[in-house]
């Protein structure tokens, strides 16, 4: 059984089979709104994830950054998570931004503590809140920061945020005052929580978990790690479902409870019976 699982996981990683991935509405609108950015416009990118959840969030960040690079958009990286700046460096590099000019085309402003309060401070005074970049250089020396005072001075805000501060804080502190278009990336489990904001058009587009990243990679016609992982994921889920069906088919035909279990827990209300 374990060998089967390994096989269905490794197989697609080595040679993706390309199970069709249906593009969800949220990813499509995220792609569309980012695709409509004019060359030269400025985007704030929130690296609000941490190493613990990077497995799920990083592919989203890299996919979007690649798209932004293609669109020739300028990116201001910020973070409200302590290890965000380090992950930002990694993501910029993985998406190929290092060939661009630091300070002019993109910048990594580092981390500010304070959660929701810091998000509010950032919105009302960008250079005041992020007065230096992650290496301590003054922001006034960067051409990209010319003319950026409040959140209203950038064309879009994108945040990849699995926890707090996250989409809700950006909506409450930034969007509700400055109406800057907002695109978010969240873990698969958090989509339902954020759905009300998307319905209300306060969030223009949303990526959910690894599937979100995979859909984005497909929209750009650049299938990457997430797409490969999706095949593996799909097959693994199918394998489990198939095993469950097999197991119960045997049950129905033999009509006797399996003897493989060594315990006799007759009358148990919460046991292997369920």
């Amino acid at each position: 059984m374990y060998v089967l699982l390994l096989a269905v996981l490794i197989g697609p990683l080595l040679k993706p089979i390309g199970i069709p991935i249906k593009i969800s509405e949220g990813t499509q609108s995220a792609y569309d709104v980012i695709d409509s950015l004019e060359p030269g416009s400025k985007v704030v990118f929130g690296f609000d994830y941490s190493p613990g959840n990077a497995a799920e969030m990083e592919p989203q960040a890299i996919a979007i950054l690649k798209h932004l690079l293609l669109k020739d958009v300028k990116v201001i990286g910020i973070s409200f998570q302590a290890q965000g700046p380090m992950l930002a460096v990694k993501a910029f590099e993985a998406a190929g931004w290092t060939e661009k000019e630091y300070g002019t085309d993109y910048v990594n402003l580092g981390y500010r503590a304070g959660g929701q309060g810091a998000v509010a401070a950032f919105a009302s005074d960008v250079p005041g809140t992020f007065n230096t970049d992650y290496q301590g250089k003054s922001v006034s020396s960067f051409p990209i920061m010319q003319g950026v005072k409040t959140a209203a001075d950038v064309d879009m805000i994108i945040t990849i945020a699995p926890g707090t501060p996250g989409p809700e804080d950006y909506v409450r502190q930034v969007y509700s005052t400055y109406k800057t278009p907002l695109v978010c990336g969240v873990p698969a489990v958090a989509i339902t929580q954020v759905a009300p904001y998307v319905q209300a058009q306060q969030i223009k587009g949303i990526l959910g978990g690894l599937p979100g990243a995979a859909e984005y990679e497909l929209l750009m016609n650049q299938p990457g790690k997430a797409v490969a992982a999706m095949d593996a994921q799909s097959l693994a889920h199918l394998l489990i479902v198939a095993l469950i069906i097999l197991r119960n088919a045997a049950n129905i035909f033999s009509k006797s409870s399996p003897k493989s279990q060594t315990t006799a827990s007759a009358g148990s209300s919460a046991g292997r019976d369920v």
Binding site: L5, K22, S234, I240, V241, L243, N248, D273
Partner: protein, 200 residues
């Protein structure tokens, strides 16, 4: 015990009255005391580990080699950490090449057991079994891309299940357990439960 617990509780509830600031301050200090006391407890744990395993080394029993590995790696870690700090290259090597891969592999290997657990336990022998099994299958298919390839029903159904019955069930468990927590606290406050001191 009661006094400390009450300070911690009040700390959470008090408002802005400056007269009550001492409660906040006491709570902060007490928490750090807790950290210090727990740190001392770690010594007892270490003694237990070392005593058990050095006995096996001295007796040269079947586990002597493994016990030696444990004791040696533990002592190396302690010496490196105390003498040269946690930032030193040796310590970092042990941490990032033994501790973290072992930890993430242990974590990742849960994926294997989730398969066997599902296989072994999801047998539909009664209504409860059916419900557990069917919801698990719907949600699993709803979460992976393959689900929407088969039918649009899966993602829609899995979202509904997650936001309605799942939320309800979890909420009921939390509310009930909260009452359990408070009742245990009352028993301890009244001195009716001293099991944590090894007494009955």
């Amino acid at each position: 015990m009661t006094v400390i617990a009450l300070v911690m509780i009040l700390d959470f509830f008090i408002g802005d009255s400056t007269a009550l600031d001492w409660i906040n301050d006491t709570a902060v200090i007490t928490r750090s005391w807790g950290i210090v006391i727990s740190a001392f407890a770690m010594g007892l744990g270490a003694i237990n580990l070392l005593r058990r395993h050095s006995r096996s080394i001295v007796r040269r029993d079947d586990n002597a080699f493994y016990s030696f590995l444990l004791v040696a790696s533990m002592l190396v870690m302690i010496v490196l950490g105390v003498a040269s700090g946690t930032e030193s290259p040796g310590y970092d090597f042990m941490f990032s090449n033994i501790l973290s891969p072992a930890s993430s592999t242990m974590y990742a290997s849960i994926a294997f057991y989730i398969v066997t657990a599902a296989y072994r336990s999801f047998s539909a022998r009664n209504l409860e079994g059916w419900l557990l099994l069917i919801t698990a299958v719907i949600v699993m298919l709803g979460k992976a891309p393959i689900g929407s390839v088969i039918s649009d029903f899966f993602p829609v159904a899995s979202n509904w299940i997650e936001s309605v019955p799942n939320t309800a069930g979890m909420r009921a468990i939390m509310m009930g357990a909260a009452l359990g927590v408070i009742s245990s606290a009352v028993k301890m406050f009244l001195g009716l439960d001293k099991s944590y001191l090894g007494q009955r």
